[in-house]
Amino acid sequence: MSGTYLGMPAFPVAAKEAVGNETLRGNLRHATHTIRDKRARAVAELADWDLLREAGKQIKDRTLRHLDRYLLQLEESVTAAGGVVHWAADAEEANRIVADLVKATGEREVVKVKSMATQEIGLNEALAAEGIAAYETDLAELIVQLGEDRPSHILVPAIHRNRGEIREIFRDRMGEWGRAAPDGLSDTPAELAEAARLHLREKFLRAKVGVSGANFMVAETGTLVVVESEGNGRMCLTLPETLISVVGIEKVVPSWRDLEVFLQTLPRSSTAERMNPYTSMWTGTHDSDGPRNFHLVLLDNGRTDTLADEVGRQALRCIRCSACLNVCPVYERAGGHAYGSVYPGPIGAILSPQLRGTRSEIDASLPYASSLCGACYEVCPVAIDIPEVLVHLRERVADQGGKGHRLEKAMMKAAGWVLDHPGVLAAGERAASRTRALHPSKPPGAGAWTDARELPELPPEPFRDWWKKNRGNDRKDSGT
């Protein structure tokens, strides 16, 4: 089962709990605002941002239109370069392939670089069931793993933990997994990072098998690309003898040149940097440099279903930059966990119900986890019209059993955003008058959303003005 979030409450319930957690809210608020403001500056440096965004959108759309062709070309290039390509229709098959590959090496442990695809399929749990230990090596993932926790943000997965909590986790748990935390560990970020460095280096240096995802795969050349900051990715990609990369089929791009677009837009949208500290690119295997065996597992797991939906397929353009999370007022309140999926925030609200279907309560509630303010669309570097897809998915949920109305009201209450902030709401409505249906005294039924299909054509600028103007009020309101 993907994501192993069985028994997860629907978004309204989970969000309500999260909103009541002051630490979480404080951490999230600090994180999303810091990244958001820096991102705006990084983007402003490029005068051609809109053209890059449009190019990124078009490259991805073209890839998706001819996905069969590009995957076959990729398979051919990777194979010619000494790699082995596997096709996995679902999570179970992908996990089986990886477990068998690891077992064939005779090893019982693997080092992992943070990968949403492997989280999505629950790979660590599947490997554990086969007696294989999977060690996360990204600092944040280490914090999450040691804390027996779940990631809450695409980019900064442990953002729901503050330094004091991290020190406790390191002190109490590191020893059980390997090298213990040093005595007298303080809670300064530098000391905590040093403890993680020593703990993880022990694992890197003995690792024989590495598992990764990839940000991009180039069909033309067979090149895989991983962008990261810490260097744990480079460790996992170059030190082991065997490397297994599990990658969603939508991550392919046709040509080498296409990377010039995404290597400009991804880092700036994501960490607000001109370029992330490390980018690794490898094509099959290389003589005496890096792994001698390379396996690529191409993952479907609901992606072809998503591709079949003409409105929803644009979600497959996502390059996982997390910019949409950082501008989302609902995410800021509710936190990543409330989305019940490895994909939180606005992108999670449209991706998870498409990958997994809308049968479960959590998945049926996700299309309602939004105020449709349009900020996510505005920042998205591949121009995914998230509000459009949300509205589309609400229709689908409504069609299947009319839960929409109840979920709608529950979401708004639980996220504690709209009801707490009538003034904010009113200003928001002026900026985006077509969202009038959001007014809490007049919650819309599912039918109202159907009428509002064209709703996502929000004017982007007024929203920004409104948002800036209202930051001050909002801080006062929520600083409890």
């Binding site: 890059l52 190019a55 596997h86 900064v156 067979g222 090149t223 080498w256 500290p277 079949a308």
Partner: protein
């Protein structure tokens, strides 16, 4: 190889055909997607400014930037290693010999050996390499595994990396200008500032895993 593939993917490897069939069915009615427009800019920088911009952006990401000419290079490399207190320096096989001509005897040179284990590399203090290319607008060094740069791991495990960039020959303004000059099928590492993490309350900390100190020497020839 093909035997191994059949074993792990399971009988019939039916998923490949099934996935391809599902993709074809999914997009059967989709409109044709045109060749992407590429009317974005080739560069954002005037050619005359690229070396200064490179220096500025490298420094902004907390790399330590030095400038010298060919004659001054050996002394500078020697001084940086000495100041660092390095006892050992790792040398890729094709590093130009003059670059290390003034390294004091107290600093032992270790030739990179493909048989060296990661554990052995972990005992080395510093590494000196060249690069394939540097990108000014992003403050990025591109390493492609050429003999003066060596394997990907040697610039990862030691805590101190000195990278020599020949200016202006090896500097390009932008990512779009870099792409045609890079051979995609080589083992590539792009480095923009030292390793960093912001995972703990978004406080930036240098070097969780990679070298904590990156020194870049811009050398005019």
């Amino acid at each position: 190889m093909s035997d191994a593939k059949v074993t792990v993917t399971g009988p019939g490897t039916g998923s490949r055909e099934r996935m391809l069939a599902r993709i074809r069915a999914a997009v059967a009615d989709a409109p044709e997607a045109p060749e992407p427009a590429r009317d974005y800019l080739d560069t954002h920088t005037a050619d005359s400014g690229v070396v200064d911009l490179l220096a500025e952006n490298l420094a902004d990401y907390r790399a330590l930037v030095h400038r010298t000419d060919g004659a001054g290079l050996p002394a500078l490399v020697g001084r940086l290693l000495t100041e660092r207190g390095a006892r050992t320096v790792l040398v890729p096989p094709g590093l130009p010999a003059p670059w290390l001509a003034a390294v004091p005897d107290a600093v032992a040179r270790i030739e990179d050996d493909p048989r060296a284990t990661a554990g052995e590399l972990d005992t080395v203090d510093s590494v000196v390499t060249g690069c394939a290319l540097a990108i000014a607008e992003t403050g990025t060094l591109v390493l492609d595994g050429s003999p003066d740069q060596g394997r990907r791991r040697i610039t990862l495990i030691p805590d101190h990396h000195i990278c020599v960039v020949r200016v202006p020959d090896q500097v390009v303004a932008s990512v779009p200008r870099a792409m045609p000059r890079i051979v995609p099928t080589r083992a590539l590492t792009w480095i923009s500032g030292p390793s960093a993490t912001s995972d703990i309350e978004l406080d930036r900390v240098e070097g969780v895993h990679g070298p904590r100190t990156l020194e870049v020497i811009l050398v005019t020839e």
